[in-house]
């Protein structure tokens, strides 16, 4: 066990492991690139949807059940299925990542919108604001903390899933896990797992810290 940890430590810090096309720096950049792009696409779909449902009150059933559907959907199956259907390209992987990120964004945006005090919305309308003005100037700013929480949760989930996507000949940090498993190289497998876990935890802590900083003047 001691030997294993020593080798793992060497693997994680050695300069040769960090450089080159199979180096940690490059794999990390790939991983973040996939995750950010997939989350952006998911946000472009999920944000308007969540805002619309929250604003109009229509489609509430969808917003609530999308979350449990997203939880129930087996990630591995989805990635493999989209891959088999779409062939060897990046597109199917993005489809799977986006499909997993959308529910978290929609449900949290919707939750943020419904938490807005109805009296505040009435007051805005009473001042003569139009529906769109109420949405953009009153509801959205008040819902913003939960909207950002949804985006953060989606990003973290995508970072986790981008690992599994390496299984279907994708890059990113998951490469180490799956190449290591195939080569029975436990040090490489563990190294990949440690890196992925670290990325997810650090991103989550940094973003929730940023959220707390941005909304430090809000009471509730």
């Amino acid at each position: 066990m001691y030997e294993l940890f020593k080798n793992l430590g060497t693997w994680l810090v050695s300069g040769s492991q960090w450089s080159g096309p199979d180096g940690i720096a490059h794999r990390l950049a790939e991983h973040l690139q996939y995750s950010l792009l997939a989350t952006l696409i998911a946000a472009a779909i999920g944000l308007p949807l969540g805002l619309l449902i929250g604003h109009t009150g229509k489609g509430t059933f969808l917003a609530i059940n999308l979350a449990s559907f997203g939880r129930a959907l087996p990630t591995v199956g989805l990635v493999v299925l989209v891959f088999l259907a779409g062939g060897l390209s990046m597109l199917p992987v993005y489809v799977a990542l986006v499909a997993l990120a959308v529910p978290a964004i929609v449900t949290n945006t919707y939750a943020g919108m419904t938490a807005v005090d109805p009296d505040v919305k009435d007051a805005a309308r009473g001042q003569g604001m139009r529906g769109r003005q109420v949405l953009l100037r009153v509801e959205l700013p008040l819902a913003l903390p939960l909207v950002l929480t949804g985006l953060r949760l989606a990003l973290i989930q995508v970072v986790a899933t981008a690992t599994i996507a390496a299984y279907v000949s994708f890059g990113g940090l998951g490469r180490y896990v799956f190449d290591g498993l195939a080569q029975r190289d436990l040090v490489q497998v563990l190294g990949g797992a440690v890196l992925v876990a670290a990325v997810a935890v650090v991103l989550d802590l940094a973003l929730s810290g940023l959220q707390r900083f941005l909304f430090r003047h809000r009471t509730a």
Partner: protein, 213 residues
Amino acid sequence: MTIDWSWIADHTDDLTSLTLSHLEAALTAVLLGLLISLPLAVIAHRVRPLRGFLLGASNVLFTIPSIAIFVLLLPVSGLTRTTTVIGLTVYSLVVLLRNTVEGLDSVPVRVKEAAKAMGTRPLRTLLTVELPLALPVIMAGVRIATVMSISLVSVATYIGDGGLGQLFTDGFQRNFPTPVIVGVVLTLLLAVVADALLVALQYVLTPWKRRRA
């Protein structure tokens, strides 16, 4: 992408045993999670200084991707069912802890004071007053943990377990979509049925909620 129905007909025995093995892993994890989270939740609820630490630490665990947790357990428990169950227990533990603490918090102080005034001892208050009143919130956690565990079992296919998840690796390696589709559908079906059964269980366990409605 067409479904090969004859493959399904030829493999009903395999599908049944994979489904049972899948369910066993998920349910064991939720039960273990419940056993561990209950005392932790009571501690987090009653000992304020430990609350932030327990909830914070469990949140960090929850952030770690499932594949990473399984893999990091390999030096400890190897390519076994134990690894699958420990990994899944970690996740259900976090969800259950969060909800149980929230449930205990939601019990009105007046109710607890009334129990105290009637001479009920703390342990008895916990078992006969606080936990039953917290049950709806706890059950919400159990439902989330169960659905999530059922979905996550398949990730363990990479460490040689995974129940229905084995259909995903099988289909991928042979470039054959049928097992993958069957695996996804059965997993979703298991989740829906388990969730419905838990809703029914909650209905049975909380008779006072019914009378009012």
